[in-house]
Amino acid sequence: METLLAVSRLFNSVNRAAASAAGWLFLVLAGVVVVDVVTRKFGYQIPQFGSTRLQELEGHLHAALFALWFGFAYAKNAHVRIDIALGRAGPRALAKLEFFGCAFLALPFTLIAAYFAVYYAWTSFRHNEASVSASGLPYLFIPKTVLAIGVVLLAFAVISIMLRAMVFLWGPEHLREQAAITTYRMGAKP
């Protein structure tokens, strides 16, 4: 049981590391946009980095920015839930709901999505796929690999929560406290 918790923590810290590294891309993305707008206005093209390439780069940065935060957002319980039907449910009932919900919906979805995401990135790599636009970016497998990593990390986050829920529900008394999960709604929303 301690092992389960340790694995859960490991998955969590991987997700945290990925998210905090990717977070700086907010600044990079804003910077790329400003450079693109200003250079285009003055009719100047940076050699090797024309407007088409910069705009494609914006899309790739954006993909990395959300995909690498998927798992961490689940670990931080920032994803939207419709929790009005659960007003009086106790912590054990909530943990059971989360465990079986993950087992029947979240885990199949994330595992299948992760399989196809990895396959998609692999295909792109094998064909050395480049942008369909002649002046676009080469090496499309790089952002597609980042997207795949994001989906795999999301699967890690789901497994991590399931492991904690298992320890909390069926593990030894002394471990339950540290395995408690919060599934009420929190975090920011637009």
């Binding site: 707008v37 920015l65 939207v80 919900g101 919906l105 929303k189």
Partner: protein
């Protein structure tokens, strides 16, 4: 029986989604999981091919990741979060309070005015509501405002953030229905201002009739000399006007697409916050974490919804929706329009704009594309109608933020109100404002020029 079930898998899928959403599992997981389960059922009933699952990732890539329109969303979210920390709102509110100190209900009006101005700088709601609740509610209660009026004013003013352009809601809906975001921003401006004016008129009238509800601020408040007064005005109005000019100006000045304007706005907000020395490393980290979580939340819904609507459509869901509507007698364009508005209003009690947009719009998109309102809006089916329709939906969805038990604005306030304000005050307080929003909706339905005039005038719509 088997044949009937095979034909109606999409209906069953929708029913199961409705039930499973209330499990409390994150909505993105429910959408994706129900998609997978019914994809597998579809394989068993010979309605879906296993190989079709391969299309999921290319759809995510093309529709969500490498989609230049949606890049606006992380930038608007980031911009909103930076602004929240910049102290700009605080100064603006103080200045507006000075300006409106003699007017009945002046304090409440200053909140509505500030909500309107901040709405034109930012594209999200959460930040502005929390900010207004923290800085405006205590001062209103201290002055002896009726709690219901104070709460309703703040909730409605904060919610304007997502209607008045720029707005991430319009970006999402424009992307889903293939309408230009620039045209939508222009179209949303007058309806947004209309709601703001309705709120001001309501506050003014009720404070004039019952002065006890809204005691004015002391007239001697604020700067003593004329010079100090104008410095205050200039200092507090410059930052928001600078950002409005940067974002909306760069779109309509032809410098940038709405997406790029979001990036430019984010850079501008960072610059302002740095100049004002409100942005150290720790704050920046917090801003990034809040933005990252919110952004992941939005796009995770896209991720799950892509799976759901792909399977739903593959199972023949579009035709079933059409048949069902016709079977219950909803067959003319007007009936469909009114039906959808009522549906969205009712869904708004339980869901937020983003779930409603991502689930409802893809399902009805094929029907919407064919609706002919040329007698009413002066253009045939297509972009012009969709622009008008999206704005109606956007005004309607303003109510979803305020209607209990699950209004996002209420949720934000619940976490930040002072202890002597009860949930009952909040619920009673929002009723008149939901009424005003519905009046605004009726006006935009009856007078489509209200929506369509500005985008036509700036040449974004024919």
């Amino acid at each position: 029986m088997t044949a009937w079930l095979a034909q109606h898998l999409s209906v069953l899928m929708f029913v199961v989604l409705g039930v499973a959403l209330f499990s409390g599992l994150p909505v993105g997981f429910v959408l994706g999981g129900v998609g997978i389960v019914f994809g597998v059922l579809g394989i068993l009933f010979d309605q879906f091919q296993p190989i079709q699952f391969f299309n999921f990732l290319p759809r995510v890539w093309g529709g969500v990741a490498a989609n230049p329109v949606l890049v606006a969303i992380p930038m608007f979210i980031f911009m909103g979060m930076v602004l929240e920390r910049s102290g700009i709102a605080h100064e603006l509110l103080h200045c507006l309070q000075v300006l409106t100190r003699g007017v009945p209900g002046g304090l409440a009006m200053s909140v509505t005015l500030m909500g309107t101005i901040m709405a034109a700088t930012t594209g999200i709601v959460g930040a502005s509501v929390i900010m207004l609740t923290l800085i405006a509610l205590p001062s209103m209660i201290e002055r002896g405002y009726q709690k219901e009026l104070a709460v309703g004013t703040i909730a409605s003013a904060g919610t304007l953030g997502i209607l008045i352009p720029p707005s991430i809601m319009l970006v999402v809906m424009g992307d889903l229905l293939q309408v230009s975001v620039g045209a939508l921003f222009a179209a949303a401006l007058l309806p947004g201002l209309l709601l703001s004016v309705l709120y001001l008129v309501y506050i003014g009238t009720i404070s004039y009739l019952k002065p006890a509800l809204a005691p004015p601020l002391p007239v001697e408040m604020g700067p003593k000399s004329r010079r100090e007064f104008w410095t205050l005005v200039a200092k507090s109005f410059f930052p928001p006007l600078f950002l409005i000019a940067l974002v909306l100006g760069s779109i309509y000045g032809g410098w940038a697409t709405p997406t790029e304007a979001a990036g430019v706005g984010a850079a501008g907000a960072l610059l302002l916050a740095m100049v004002r020395r409100k942005l150290d490393r720790t704050t920046l980290r917090e801003v990034i974490e809040q933005s990252g979580l919110t952004n992941a939340m939005v796009f995770f819904l896209f991720f799950g919804a892509t799976m759901f609507s792909y399977v739903f459509r593959s199972l023949g869901g579009d035709d079933v929706v059409k048949e069902l509507l016709a079977a219950v007698g909803i067959d003319t364009p007007w009936k469909i329009l009114i039906f959808l508005q009522i549906l969205v209003f009712l869904l708004g009690f339980f869901f937020d704009w983003i779930e409603i947009s991502l689930i409802v719009l893809p399902i009805f998109a094929p029907i919407l594309a064919g609706l002919d309102f040329s007698a009413h809006i002066g253009s045939g089916p297509g972009i012009v109608f969709l622009t008008w329709f999206i704005i109606l939906l956007a005004v309607n969805l303003q109510t979803s933020f305020l209607t209990p038990p699950f209004g996002f604005t209420l949720f934000c306030m619940r976490a930040t109100v002072p202890p002597d304000v009860a949930m009952a005050h909040i619920y009673r307080g929002i009723v008149p404002f939901v009424g005003l929003q519905l009046i605004g909706l009726a006006v935009t339905i009856v007078f489509p020029e209200f929506v369509l005039w500005l985008p036509r005038a700036v040449g974004m719509l024919t």
